[in-house]
């Protein structure tokens, strides 16, 4: 993959490698200048092996997630690239008429064989071209009479027998090769896709149906699915590139194909192979295009219908697409992995806070005998770097494994026929390693700043750090604050890079890094500048937050970036609280409770209220992460400052079970006593559960709406006919074929006016439209569908916008049935659906927004570009976006007929009679009409298939995100292990006063359970609220069909697994605690 967040991967690699080099250099400096301190750090590693293993596991998650995301992109890129090479073979460029350019009709796509001959003559002797062939392709119906199986949309390709050999022999599915010139009279090649679908092999007879005429061919060979093997329509400019889903293909000599489709002397493609093999040839694309283009640009070019074919760099385009798809997947996984990475950062911080707590006496002793605070920091970063490097390498290896697993599952899930080529580029590995190691290192550094600040006497005696009333709790707040700023910076960088400017993002990253280094550079920077921060550190943080917050808000408003504005506001609120903490004597509990509530209200405000208050700003999927982080920060602050209320409630409940009451009390008071570590762990669980639950709710709500009976308009069976078979009366055709129509209640016909799209243009604007809308309006391509009376009268497809004057959906459909000049459009025409964002050629309606419920009727002109005729219809509704089976403009047959006649393709929507089995009915129709290339499918089955695919991918994403739960579980393990050591003497006392071993163990288990439960509970609750807001906001969906659905099963599964894993993780330390010898524990110091 080449870029991430809009930044070149090479640039990212250089920046991250530089940052990591600085990290390494700082440790190297310690190793060289303070060898003793360095060794002290390293020798801590083997002291507690189990703990060291846990630390490495915790630390490796960042590298695992980053590597997995990048390697997923690389593998997808590489696999699709391989598919491009396999699919296109030697073909590098294709000459064809571009339908996007001219809204061409079918006739305009063909040109004379003489055009090819002219080009061939022109390129003769050109050293950059080693092969070319003319080709003719069309969609035909192919069936196997014996097996009674048909494929109505098979791509027929005719290629030049004399010339195609220069592209190399065909590869057969059995692994051999086949020379096209060996094809006998009456023989055809079929590709493996078609062979499978119509169950045909070498020697079998297949029937090609085109223009209503049947042509029998014997299968000469079954070849791999390539562009020359029939997959031509997917490869040229008329298609989107090599199709990822395999296509049925049949290949015959060019003259045969011309006869079948009735176009003697015509072709619609010229395939060109550049000199070199299938990979190296693409390098000559520019030269070949330069040589070919003038041939068709000259006025003398003999082209049909005056539309000139042009050459396209097909292979290069496809290779770029492959890379783009890889980039998109990497981005998706990186963004969804951000939650886990953030949780990982908290875990790293927690681990080092705990390590420091464990070593306080020895750190105090070290300080007593002359070590400076900076030495302690150096000791920590030396030790940290060792863990960091080890963990990053382990994480990277595992990350590659996870990526390969993800891609394998995805490819199987989507049934994509591409060769799976596992790949990870060295650049991705370097980026993942450097990013993970730098993040970890900086986190360790921040935590060591906190932990190295100790009172020597108290540390030696392992007594609590003495605090004055004024300073109490502020140390923790300051650390939490720095951590928040740090996480905030990490979020802001990619957002700024994506929304404002890539270089600005990079600049911020560097500023952040230098900012983190400031304490190190204290001597060289602070003192010369006279910045004796000392006790005014708090004020500096406050001012930083206030100014930073205000700047981000301004940046958000001016740049129209919601994420920056909302983060700025939150930072500003935190800054105010921090300022008040230092300036006033208002209790921290009051300040932080108020601040957390303000933030919670702010982030959970319904979108329309937010828009009213702060103006409408642009937010994209990054808001998912940003809102998650801040909602979790706010809810965690609220919880840790008010958890004593929870204790009261729990004590009251547990009071009913007196045997466990002491354990419950212990389980709750300990977490409450250490806010920082409890807060960090709560935040980890909250963050991950929040993300998982929001995703699960949104997905389930969307999927349920899409798979509902309403989404298919109440129809049961979809019958698709072949473009080559004209069936306008389904009932009649079935009866003529000897089938039964007893189980067909209603049969609605919908005809697609033209396979190549129609032209539409908005000609009236609602009063809500502004001048800009009118100015932007231009004609665009759209699928134009004509419904017959039976379809319009029985259709119940839901509408998300209904024109004024119509009571409901039924009224709209009824009006369409009665008035042929009315129409409805699908939701993509109003929701900013664009074509690659480059050249928007699709039809758009302006002045109606996705969030609208009503609209003023809008007049639209429909045109047949070939005939030049026009008709006008009035749009009175917009289909709900959950209707995924229908796109375009839907109107009456009467409106379309003058432009297109009967249309190119008929589809029938069937309502079956009560009690009929939809699948059987569909199968029966298909079987009866197999020779006409008719396919029947139960609509529920189609929806189920789509849903299964979408669900599968979303589950995969959720699974990937749930890696973050490992972080939470690991953190509980770390806390519990540490707690057993830390509380050894207290355990002894509890045992002395009558706690049985099992009760001590229960207390530990309940404590972990309490943290996991509260953390997950807070995350789940916040997710419920946010997703409710999202589903009710017009930003995410204007659909009236999407209802708030809580997937309890999924949530219980996530929460249950995480909870059980937490308990298992705690069980070992808890058991150890229960077995602590009492007398020994009491002596323990």
């Amino acid at each position: 993959m080449d870029n991430l967040f809009g930044l070149s991967m090479t640039t990212i690699m250089i920046v991250l490698a530089s940052i990591f080099a600085i990290c390494l250099a700082s440790v190297a400096y310690v190793a060289l200048r303070n060898r003793l301190v360095f060794m002290l750090g390293l020798r801590n590693i083997p002291r507690r092996r189990a703990q060291s293993v846990l630390i490495v596991v915790g630390l490796m998650l960042a590298s695992l997630i980053i590597t997995a995301s990048l390697a997923t992109g690389d593998t997808i890129d590489r696999s699709i690239t391989a598919a491009v090479y396999d699919g296109l073979g030697e073909v590098d460029e294709i000459v064809a008429v571009d339908i996007d350019d001219e809204a061409a009709t079918r006739d305009q796509l063909y040109f004379s064989f003489a055009e090819f001959e002219e080009l061939e003559a022109e390129l003769e002797g050109n050293p950059n071209v080693d092969a070319m062939t003319p080709a003719l392709t069309d969609t035909v119906n192919v069936y196997n009479r014996e097996a009674r199986l048909s494929e109505p949309t098979t791509s027929l390709a005719g290629v030049s027998v004399e010339r195609v050999g220069a592209f190399g022999p065909y590869e057969t599915v059995s692994g051999g090769s086949f020379d096209f010139s060996d094809l006998g009279e009456g023989q055809a090649l079929i590709n493996e896709e078609l062979a499978d679908n119509v169950d045909a092999g070498v020697g079998d007879t297949i029937t090609i149906v085109a223009q209503g005429v049947e042509h029998d061919y014997e299968v000469g060979a079954v070849v791999k699915t390539t562009i020359l093997g029939g997959d031509l329509q997917g490869g040229g400019p008329q298609g989107g590139g090599v199709s990822l889903s395999s296509r049925n293909g049949v290949v015959v000599p060019l003259t045969g194909a011309q006869r079948i489709v009735g176009r003697p002397g015509q072709i619609n493609y010229i395939l060109i192979s550049n000199t070199g093999d299938e990979k190296s040839g693409a390098a000559l694309t520019d030269e070949v295009i330069t040589a070919v283009s003038p041939v068709f640009e000259s006025d003398e070019a003999q082209v049909t219908n005056e539309i000139k074919p042009r050459i396209s760099p097909t292979k290069l385009n496809n290779l770029e697409d492959a890379e783009e798809i890889g980039n998109i997947f990497s981005l998706i996984f990186v963004v969804f992995g951000l939650f886990s990475i953030a949780a990982g950062i908290l875990l790293i911080f927690l681990i080092f806070v705990m390590l420091a707590a464990e070593r306080r006496p020895e750190m105090g002793m070290a300080r007593a005998v002359g070590m400076k605070r900076s030495h302690l920091i150096q000791q920590f970063i030396s030790e940290g770097m060792a863990y960091d490097v080890g963990a990053a390498f382990v994480g990277t290896v595992l990350g590659v494994g996870v990526a390969f697993l993800l891609v394998t599952i995805m490819i199987n899930l989507f049934e994509v026929d591409i060769p799976l080529e596992y790949s990870v580029s060295p650049r991705s590995l370097i980026v993942a390693l450097c990013l993970a190691m730098s993040l970890t290192f900086i986190t360790i550094f921040i935590s060591s700043l906190n932990t190295s600040r100790l009172n020597i006497v108290a540390a030696i005696a392992d007594l609590p750090q003495p605090t004055t009333r004024r300073r109490r709790g502020r140390g923790e707040i300051a650390v939490g604050f720095v951590l928040t700023l740090y996480v905030l910076g990490l979020i802001t960088v990619p957002i700024i890079a994506l929304t404002i400017n890539a270089l600005a993002g990079l600049a911020l990253l560097l500023v952040m890094f230098v900012g983190a280094l400031i304490p190190v550079l204290r001597r060289t920077l602070y003192r010369p500048l006279g910045l004796a921060l000392g006790q005014h550190r708090g004020h500096v943080f406050s001012v930083m937050a206030l100014v930073g917050g205000a700047l981000l808000m301004l940046l958000g408003q001016s740049g129209d970036v919601l994420a920056l504005f909302t983060m700025g506001f939150s930072l500003f609120v935190l800054g105010v609280v921090f300022f008040l903490t230092y300036l006033t004597k208002i209790p921290g509990r009051v300040l932080w409770t108020v601040a957390s509530l303000v933030l919670l209200v702010f982030w959970l405000l319904p979108t329309d209220v937010q828009n009213t208050l702060f103006g409408e700003l642009n937010g994209d999927f990054e808001m998912f992460f940003v809102s998650g982080v801040f909602i979790v920060i706010a809810s965690t602050l609220f919880l840790v400052y008010n958890a004593d209320l929870l204790l009261t409630v729990l004590t009251l409940i547990a009071g009913r079970f007196s045997s466990i009451l002491p354990a419950v009390r212990m389980a709750v008071v300990y977490p409450l006593a250490s806010r920082l570590r409890t807060g960090l762990t709560l935040a980890m669980f909250s963050l991950i559960m929040f993300a998982l639950v929001v995703m699960a709710i949104l997905n389930t709500s969307f999927l349920e709406a899409q798979s509902s009976d309403e989404a298919v308009g109440g129809w049961d069976v979809l019958v698709t006919t072949s473009p080559n078979t004209e069936i306008s009366d389904l009932r009649g055709a079935i009866e003529a074929g000897g089938g039964s129509t007893d189980e067909l209640a209603d049969v609605g016909r919908v005809s697609l006016a033209s396979l190549f799209g129609s032209e539409a243009e908005q000609v009236s604007w609602p009063s809500t439209a502004d001048a800009e809308d009118e100015a932007d309006t231009e004609s665009g391509v759209v699928s134009l569908w004509a419904g017959d009376q039976e379809f319009l009268e029985n259709n119940r497809m839901p509408l998300q916008v209904i024109a004024e004057g119509y009571a409901d959906e039924a009224a709209v459909w009824q009006a369409l049935a009665e008035d042929p000049t009315l129409a409805v459009v699908d939701a993509s025409t109003i929701t900013g659906f664009t074509n690659d964002g480059e050249e928007d050629v699709t039809f758009r309606i302006r002045g109606v927004d996705a969030g609208d419920n009503t609209m003023e009727p809008i007049e639209v002109a429909l045109r047949n570009p070939l005939a030049g005729e026009e008709t006008r219809v009035t749009v009175i509704g917009v289909l709900d976006e959950t209707v995924i089976l229908a796109t375009g403009v839907f109107t009456s047959q009467q409106a379309v007929e003058p432009l297109y006649g009967d249309g190119d393709l008929n589809q029938f929507f069937v309502n079956t009679t009560e009690g009929a089995d939809d699948k059987e009915v569909a199968k029966g129709i298909e079987s009866t009409l197999v020779e006409q290339g008719v396919q029947g499918q139960s609509l529920q089955e189609i929806l189920d298939d789509i849903q299964a695919q979408q669900e599968g991918f979303l589950y995969l994403l959720e699974g990937f995100m749930s890696l973050g739960l490992v972080v939470g579980v690991a953190s509980l393990g770390v806390i519990s292990l540490r707690a057993v050591v830390e509380r050894r003497q207290q355990i002894g006392m509890l045992r002395a006063v009558g706690f049985r071993g099992s009760l001590v163990s229960l207390a530990f288990m309940l404590e972990s359970g309490f943290i996991a439960f509260v953390g997950m509970g807070a995350g789940i609750l916040a997710a419920f609220m946010l997703s409710y807001n999202l589903l009710n906001s017009d930003e995410i969906s204007g659909s009236s069909q999407i209802h708030y659905v809580i997937p309890w099963g999924q949530i219980m599964l996530f929460a249950g697994l995480a909870f059980v894993a937490s308990l298992i993780m705690t069980w070992f330390p808890a058991r150890a605690a229960s077995r602590v010898p009492v007398a020994e524990a009491l002596r323990y110091e």
Binding site: Y670, L672, V993
Partner: protein, 254 residues
């Protein structure tokens, strides 16, 4: 196995005889041996065959130089530690044969503990610390709270009930510890250097308090101490050396 030696025994004073001779024996150790295994596998005999009896209502001090086995004896007698061999009878029950759970329950019902460093739970306030043994014994929370406040009242720190240990002075903490030791009205109170971490004024106050409780509630006190002043305020001092009782003293006689 260590060889048991007969201790040299001072004659009991008349006062002691009069007060305790007829009282039932509540603590009895027979041939108590405790051997620890050091990290490098060497056996270290902490108790080498101790025999001792303590009568109901007695206040006994165990004294001796560091490492003589005082705390080990207290831990073994109270069931906090296992013995290598020998018998320990508390009110007739041989606790050395009890399972860990049974011994824990026995401790919760019959014993209270006071430690040198208080061993209060820092995360609980004074009254919550005191009510812990009651809650463990299954007493209803409301009753436990009532009894705990009363116990704090007895030791004079009721006003500090809502304070956490870190907010209390050393003397106050030790009073809370004593309240915790007494709250379930145990027959025996074990105290390991109860004044070891206190200044002389607080140490004196704590000893006076323990003496008063001992007299008023007729509870048996076994106190491990280095402080001869503490010993002097008990009914009997057991002197130990190298894991053996070497002498007994009756301060009342002095």
């Amino acid at each position: 196995m260590a060889i048991a030696q007969a201790p040299t025994k001072e004659t009991a004073s008349d006062t002691w005889e009069a007060r305790f001779k007829e009282q039932p024996v509540v603590i009895e150790a027979r041939d108590l041996v405790k051997v620890y295994q050091s990290g490098d596998g060497v056996d270290v005999s902490a108790l080498r065959g101790v025999n001792v009896q303590v009568h109901k209502g007695e206040m006994v001090a165990i004294m001796g130089p560091s490492g003589c086995g005082k705390t080990t004896m207290l831990n073994c007698l109270s069931g906090l530690d296992d013995v290598t061999s020998g018998q320990i009878l508390i009110d007739g029950t041989d606790i050395s044969t009890l399972s860990d759970n049974a011994r824990t329950d026995f401790r919760a019902r019959n014993m209270g503990f006071v430690f040198q460093f208080y061993n209060l739970l820092p995360v609980l306030n004074a009254v919550e610390n005191v009510e812990l043994p009651l809650l463990v014994s299954g007493v209803k929370p409301s009753l436990a709270r009532e009894k705990s406040l009363a116990a704090l009242d007895v030791v004079g720190v009721r006003n500090w009930a809502g304070h956490r240990p870190a907010q209390l002075s050393g003397g106050q903490r030790q009073r809370v510890t004593i309240a915790r030791a007494l709250v379930n009205e145990p027959a025996i109170v074990w105290a390991d250097e109860p004044t070891g971490d206190l200044d002389s004024k607080n140490a004196d106050d704590i000893m006076s308090l323990m003496q008063q409780l001992n007299r008023e509630k007729h509870q048996t006190f076994v106190i491990v101490t280095h402080d001869s002043g503490v010993g002097a305020r008990t009914n009997r001092i057991i002197h130990m050396l190298d894991g053996l009782i070497v002498n007994e003293e009756y301060p009342d006689a002095a």
